[in-house]
Symmetry: C2
Subunit: 239 residues, 2 copies
DNA sequence: TTTCAACTCCCCAGAAACAGCGAGGGCGGA
DNA sequence: TCCGCCCTCGCTGTTTCTGGGGAGTTGAAA
């Protein structure tokens, strides 16, 4: 793998991008620049609705989406719990589903090595930036070691553009919760019953209910559990 | 402001840091390297519990914490909604509380210029990395323009260390959920009622209940909402 | 000044969730 | 082979949550 990558040029190209299709082209240019098999940016969205760009084959991408592989993909699960970029080797491949998934991926041309960077944006947005290649462990470690910083920056810029191009996903910008509503949601997420929450906050249970309903309304949630889930995924509460 | 900053050296120093106190020292070194007034890393916990390190005066930090300024600080509010690093000038200072807050900050030696980078980690973790200085707009723009990429990387490395030093905030490991349990938790988090979930999964509501109870047990949760919250914060389900 | 959002309190009835009991078939690892 | 986990289904009763009303205060923004 050649290491004559001009980081500044890449980032400027990314900055200048004005359309979604161009991002696709940049993944290809990056793949060639880094001399790796694949570069993928993958926005992981709520209901399994997904979006991204990259150099994986169409067959693999379609299969991934169709079979809802994001649910068993250890890369997603692992990155979701981490802040660090992560080498695929360090993930948990112990379950049968994981190994089967990996086998499938190999068949469809994904490299045996991978390096994925989790990226998080406002409102619980979550995405991955992945580099994948076919080589031995030592080569791969040298590569990731050398380029991890550049890749973090590139991932960051990719996500900027993705957020820019997908304003539709932003209107989820629900109105912020009031302090009391945050309190209520937080305590509910901690497992308190309504009675306990009311007591903890020193208010009547009915008042509490008003907060919950208000929060539910602001979050567009169907019930309390949904409201708590949304509040969490949008980073409005931390448990 | 001098621009002889050795980014690699900084990042290596950060990587080698093994204790919280050293991070404080690094903010001071960075301040000198960049020749700015202040460098601050600020972990914002929505519960109001906060933590960070930086070169602000002790008086200002104490005042900030004591008066719960994080609730009215436009830097926090603004960064929380953005992915991009942001110049303080571009934030919303229209409210009375904001302007009062800014006046206070100036009195306590915070610069009139600022540049803050939002950083997000697992479980809704949120932090800011801020550079602040006293100068005119043009000078500041030139500075941020030149260093924004470096600052993004530095911010990233700071957050790595912060997460590393706060293991109690890391998700605890719990037994993995079975596929059916994941399905159940996911659909519940999407706002479905038990009846709807059962129908969606094509199982009886009683069976569904067994999954929910099982998941609740595995997660050590007190009720369904709690179980969903824990499953989400541990990255077992993605909603 | 007026308006608006936030915070507080109250009643009631129906829907939903919880808790505890039990049972049987299948599949994979020790 | 046996043990344990996963998946599936059933019953009964209690507790909790939800949704529909209405009403008063405060404080900050327009």
């Amino acid at each position: 793998m050649v290491n004559t990558v001009n980081l500044n040029q890449i980032l400027e190209d990314l900055d200048a991008t004005s359309a979604l299709e161009e991002l696709q082209g940049i993944t290809e240019a990056l793949r060639d620049a880094f001399s790796v098999d694949h570069i993928v940016y993958h926005w992981v969205d709520s209901a399994g609705d997904q979006y991204g760009c990259g150099t994986y084959s169409d067959e693999w991408r379609d299969r991934y989406l169709e079979l809802n592989y994001h649910r068993i993909d250890p890369v997603i699960a692992g990155c979701f719990q981490r802040f660090h970029p992560v080498d695929w080797k360090r993930l948990d491949w112990s379950s049968k589903a994981s190994r089967h998934f990996f086998g499938e991926a190999l068949k469809y041309g994904v490299g045996n090595q991978g390096f994925s960077i989790p990226i998080r944006g406002p409102n619980g947005q979550f995405a991955l930036f992945t580099v994948s290649h076919n080589c031995d462990d030592a080569t791969w470690e040298a590569f990731t070691e050398e380029h991890s910083r550049d890749l973090i920056l590139i991932a960051h810029y990719f996500n900027r553009k993705a957020l820019e191009f997908e304003p539709n996903r932003q209107p989820e910008q629900s109105r912020a919760l009031s302090p009391r509503e945050v309190d209520a949601m937080t305590l509910l997420a901690m497992g308190y019953s309504r009675a306990q929450v009311a007591e903890t906050l020193s208010i009547s249970e009915h008042t509490l209910r008003v907060y919950i309903e208000s929060a539910r309304f602001k979050l567009g949630a169907l019930n309390t559990t949904h409201a708590v889930a949304r509040a969490m995924s949008r980073g409005l509460i931390v448990v």
